[in-house]
Amino acid sequence: MADIWDGMRAAFWLIVQLDADLMEITLRSLHVSLTALLIACLIALPAGTWLAVRRFRFRRAAIATLNAFMGLPPVVVGLIVYLLLSRDGPFGVFGLLFTPTAMIIAQVIIITPLVMSITHQAMRELWSEYHDLLISLNTSRSQRVRTLLWDGRRALLTAALAGFGRAIGEVGAIMIVGGNIDHVTRVLTTAIALETSKGDFALALGLGFVLIGLSLVISFLTHSLSQTERSGRW
């Protein structure tokens, strides 16, 4: 119990003093995860919607695979990205290993299936509601996708938040491809892992509370900006 109190006290002081290291680590966490989220959303939102609208032969298999990829083990993703980016790997020439870019790549791979699957679920319902009308109005496929994306934007927010949650709290992959290098690739989660293994529980917990607080702030911010729960069902 004492450890937890110490942790809270440590978190409090770290935040109040605007600890330079903490700020740097937090901003890097945000930078990596938000960039990964942005890229993942650009891929997953249209792709998930398209999957809901389009009927094709291997649709069922595609959806099953997608759902399985939601639980992709980050460590394995990290390992594969590591091998791809390492000097002997096919993308070794870019020298990306142990950079924030490598961490972003790994996180995009981890969260895209998650965001896409949630998008597909939500869009499937909306599509069954809109199906007849949009077909009757002679809409093209891209018009249908755009209409669904716009009218289902609240559900997409949930998908994006889920993706963000997974990215910001993820440690396995970014530890491997980032290397947890101080001032270069150290983020909140890798710092927590490091402090814990060093036995500095107070600092580790402090960082942990900052991490949780960050998630809360982002979630509240998006909800208040998009005014969900305020204007009825949609």
């Binding site: 909306l126 509601e129 809109y130 007849d132 009308l133 077909i135 009757s136 109005l137 002679n138 809409t139 018009q143 209409t147 009218d151 289902g152 204007s231 009825g232 069902r233 949609w234």
Partner: protein, 237 residues
């Protein structure tokens, strides 16, 4: 112009699902103008028939022969569903949607939407979310949204089901106006009174087949026993 879209000849139209024949074979000619009422008991195939004509129900056999190409015909019709689908947007955006698809933008768009909102008494509700309108308002909005891009042929599936008298009267007035503008209308209805008020000609479906068809005058002198009992309000099986 309706003239280069209609008449519509349907020849041997059939709709089968899972080996069961839901509709047909139906052969019929829809004339140049006026309002054709498709009547019949529940399960007679009225909705399937309308959807097949509109091209959103797959046809198993037979032909639709428009006076123009099928692609051209497709772009000149509108359909109002039995339970109107409201886009999760404001009333204004619901009205604007078909216009936007046709590339209408800016001042013209706003003006047309406002004019139609006024016609359906929703001027004050332009910015309200459409899914939260009452049943009658929703149906009127759906009809306005169907008419706003000026289709030559309008399908309506039971537009007045579950509506009270005043909403029904409003909708019948909208349909009469559309007819005056030269829109061809094909609709279904359960309400024998409405059939007599609106129909120029009728088509009586039973068990997926046309049992009787003719001008509205013929409703006073039905030939088949089924139509007779349907008009009397008896339950048909």
């Amino acid at each position: 112009m309706v003239g280069d879209l209609m008449p519509l000849d349907i020849v041997g139209l059939e709709v089968r699902r899972r080996g069961k024949r839901l509709l047909g074979p139906i052969t019929h000619r829809f004339g140049l103008d006026g309002l054709t009422m498709v009547i019949g008991p529940n399960g007679a195939g009225k909705t399937t028939f309308l959807k097949a004509l509109h091209g959103i129900e797959r046809i198993s056999a037979g032909d639709l022969r428009w006076a123009t190409s099928p692609e051209d015909a497709k772009g000149r019709q509108a359909y109002v569903f039995q339970t109107p689908t409201m886009l999760r947007r404001s009333v204004r955006e619901n009205l604007a949607y078909p216009l936007r698809l046709n590339g209408v933008r800016g001042g013209d768009l706003a003006k047309t939407c406002e004019a139609w909102a006024e016609r359906i008494n929703l001027s004050d509700a332009l910015e309200r979310p459409a899914p939260r309108l009452s049943g009658g308002e929703r149906q009127k909005l759906a009809i306005a949204r169907a008419l706003i891009s000026g289709p030559d042929l309008l399908f309506l599936d039971e537009p007045c089901a579950n509506l009270d008298g005043s909403a029904t009267a409003d909708i019948e007035r909208m349909l009469a106006d559309a007819l005056d503008q030269g829109t061809r209308i094909i609709m279904t209805s359960h309400d024998v009174g409405q059939v007599r008020r609106l129909a120029h000609d009728f088509l009586f479906l039973h068990g997926g087949q046309i049992r009787e068809a003719g001008s509205s005058g013929q409703l006073n002198d039905p030939q088949s026993i089924e139509l007779k009992s349907f008009l009397k309000g008896d339950i048909l099986r």
